[in-house]
């Protein structure tokens, strides 16, 4: 009798656990509240990213403070990251446990992976269009932009399939920070738009050495003329400029093609001579540039405050910094008449929650991040541009741009030149198709350049056979050879199961073993009764 009770108890327990699991996964559909609850406390969690920059952190806190003043019953708790990758990993882990944040700084590539979990990221179309609480809605307590005031290229980047899943928060691109002094010392004049041919030619010339082994151009023992920070961007932009395939909207992987092979062979040629290296292999481009050990340093415009001999942020000893004139240019191009550069920078998404009021509060906070005060203040911290025309065209922002070079902090000229470059080329920017697996494809494209560069430095021969092997290796490493990555991809990418999930599965299995054992035992014992 006791055993039957125990069996029943275990069954109830297991049923309860199963129900608990089920409840986490099947959130009910969101229903737009007619009215924001301004009486009961609502708590939202915001995961943000900064560039190890105190001012950026302070701006987030200021945004929270300002928002909470307007909506005193909503409390925003922030968790700060300095790395998008860490946010991505933590979100993936928390999707499994149903503990995602409410609002999160992210990249559309990452959202595509988040979407493989059910009921995760909120589609924003309904929220954006709501007359009361939508973009610039009539019931908002702050001056938010209307949809048309968000730069359309940037908003478009947040569209995945048929819906918007994020709002753009800040935008940047890459720039080539050039030691103009050395270029001219080598007998060249900078063209209006940098080309790959020009960069390679000057870089090779810069390798000429004196009899004592020092480089003629800088008199030092170190010179890496061309350093690229983000080699995934290098490959993606090269392919785009060449009109070569990379991927498509259906999630097909097109990276491993003949143009890619040609790009890799060129990289190998200049990697072998020592004219080219990467951040992962040698270090931060800014450190080499500022020490007079690099001529073409490609990095994000959001890293512009580290660039130049008078940079407000430096990581090398003061006595290592050399004096030179810095030019901020577009990344090298294959066709200078039609420059193309990648659009990057953080977006903000909100996660589905069972409480519609919590979702609405999250949406209001995300929208608050697009107000002029936040947009302008944040963009001034680095080479970011505001994502709204409302902020870009404001008097305050125009005055900021006009004051370029008036000091070496807020108005540091290299930073404002980088910002101007991004704004001037807004229509020349592009993003790659977003699908489940696009983040891995991006990593793979950079890995090709890293591996080829490392190989030639290690005296290996980079030929067709090497590159074909490399393609196979990289496809396997990033699971690009498994097929099934698609726009609606439900494949992989969620990584290993988190500990809690493993524990739960183990517990379930143990419970079932116990149940079956008890049932069998009952059966075996019964005849004896």
């Amino acid at each position: 009798m006791k055993k039957r009770w125990m069996l029943a108890l275990i069954l109830i327990l297991v049923m309860g656990m199963l129900t608990g699991c089920h409840g986490r996964r099947s959130e009910e559909a969101f229903e737009m509240p007619a009215q924001l609850d301004e009486e009961n406390p609502i708590e939202i969690v915001f995961w943000a990213k900064n560039d190890t920059n105190k001012t950026q952190r302070d701006i987030y806190y200021k945004a929270i403070e300002g928002f909470q003043k307007l909506y005193p019953n909503i409390s925003v708790t922030m968790r700060l990251y300095t790395d998008y990758g860490k946010i991505y990993n933590d979100v993936i882990t928390n999707i499994s446990t149903g503990t995602t944040p409410n609002v999160c700084i992210t990249y559309p590539d990452h959202i595509a992976t988040y979407l493989t979990g059910s009921g995760t990221v909120m589609p924003l179309d309904e929220l954006m269009a709501d007359p009361k609480y939508g973009l610039g809605g009539e019931a908002l307590k702050f001056d938010a932009p209307i949809q048309e005031e968000i730069v359309p290229e940037y908003l478009g980047e947040c569209r995945i399939g048929d819906s918007y899943y994020a709002l753009p928060y800040m935008r940047s691109s890459e720039a080539c920070y050039v030691n103009k002094t050395y270029v001219e010392a080598l007998g060249y004049t900078l063209p209006e738009t940098l080309t790959w041919d020009f960069v390679w030619e000057v870089s090779e010339k810069a390798l000429e050495q004196n009899a004592d082994g020092t480089f003629k151009v800088n008199g030092q023992q170190v010179m890496i003329p061309f350093i690229y920070k983000s080699t995934d961007n290098m490959m993606i932009q090269s392919l785009m400029q060449k009109g070569a395939p990379y991927s498509d909207e259906e999630g097909n992987i097109l990276l491993f093609n003949e143009e890619t092979t040609q790009i890799l062979k060129t990289v190998a040629e200049h990697g072998k001579s020592g004219a080219f290296s990467t951040f992962k292999i040698s270090g931060y481009p800014a450190n080499f540039l500022n020490a007079g050990q690099c001529i073409f340093a490609v990095d994000s415009t959001a890293g512009s405050t580290w660039m130049g001999s008078k940079a407000p942020l430096v990581d090398i000893a003061e006595d290592k910094i050399v004096d030179f004139e810095t030019e901020v240019m577009t990344v090298p191009q294959y066709d200078p008449s039609a420059p193309q550069m990648i659009s990057q920078g953080p977006s903000v998404c909100i996660f589905h929650k069972a409480d519609d009021q919590e979702v609405l509060a999250s949406w209001l906070f995300a929208q608050y991040l697009l107000t002029n005060d936040i947009q302008i203040a944040y963009s001034e911290t680095e080479g970011y541009v505001p994502v709204t025309r409302k902020a870009r065209e404001s008097l305050e922002y125009q005055e900021y741009l006009a004051a370029a070079g008036s000091d070496e902090e807020v108005h540091y000229d290299i930073k404002i030149k980088a910002v101007a470059l991004v704004m001037e080329h807004t229509e020349d920017t592009f993003v790659t198709p977003v699908f489940n697996g696009s983040a891995s494809l991006r990593d793979a494209s950079g890995q090709l350049i890293e591996n080829v560069t490392k190989a030639v430095r290690r005296k290996k021969t980079v030929d067709d056979a090497f590159i074909n092997d490399l393609y196979e290796e990289v496809q396997a490493l990033y699971h690009l050879d498994q097929g099934g990555l698609g726009a609606s991809g439900q494949e992989q990418e969620l990584g290993t199961l988190p500990g809690e999930a493993v524990a739960l599965i183990t517990l379930l299995a143990a419970a079932w073993i116990l149940i079956i054992s008890l049932a069998l035992r009952e059966r075996l014992i019964k005849p004896k009764e």
């Binding site: 900064n50 190890t52 105190k54 952190r57 700060l80 300095t82 292999i281 040698s282 270090g283 931060y284 450190n287 990581d315 090398i316 000893a317 290592k320 490392k454 430095r457 290690r458 005296k459």
Partner: protein, 230 residues
Amino acid sequence: MKKALALILTMGIALSLAACGNKADDSAKSEGVMTYAEYAAAAVDTEVVVETYVQAKQSWWDNKATIYTQDQEGGYFIYEMACSEEDYNKLTTGTKIKVSGVKAEWSGEYEIAEATFEIEDGNYVATAVDVTDLLGKDELIDRQNQLVSFKDMTVEAVAYKNEEPGDDIYLTLSKDGNSYDFCLEYYLNGSDETLYNLVGGLEAGQTVDVEGFLYWYEGVNPHITKVTVK
């Protein structure tokens, strides 16, 4: 006769002990393995094979381990070595490992990259060597990646990487009027709350002894593992 026999036996035992002593010398390298001097002399981007001992583990992620190791001659920083989580758990302080990889340099830090390893018999735990007198001198780099100590340093500044607890802590210490950058690497010591709170709470003007691994980033940048406030 007995005396002679006793003498012969004694000599025999002494010789055997000496032979045993050599055999127990963990600093001896296996065939095909570099000495530290050979490793130090090897050019960047060449293949290296070393036998060394785990001194501290910095991180494990995605089947890659980053660890500080050292033998009786010098230190080896092993960056993102291929390593399962199961094997990572076997790497306790002192564990002897044979590492094959490529010597690399990143912002002044010499490391073994793209490494694989196997665990061997043997154990060695390094004690910190006082290198205070080498601060500001070129010879300091010869101690790179070793467990070292600095005595009677003055705290100049303490700053959290992200301006708030939860990440690395940058510590500026001075000696004889010259300042040096130290770092409490969060992944190396993050779980040691006592140390983290102690370093985060240091105030300018305090005198401290510090211990740590002699990491390099655009100059000397020790990763501290122990702090004693005087």
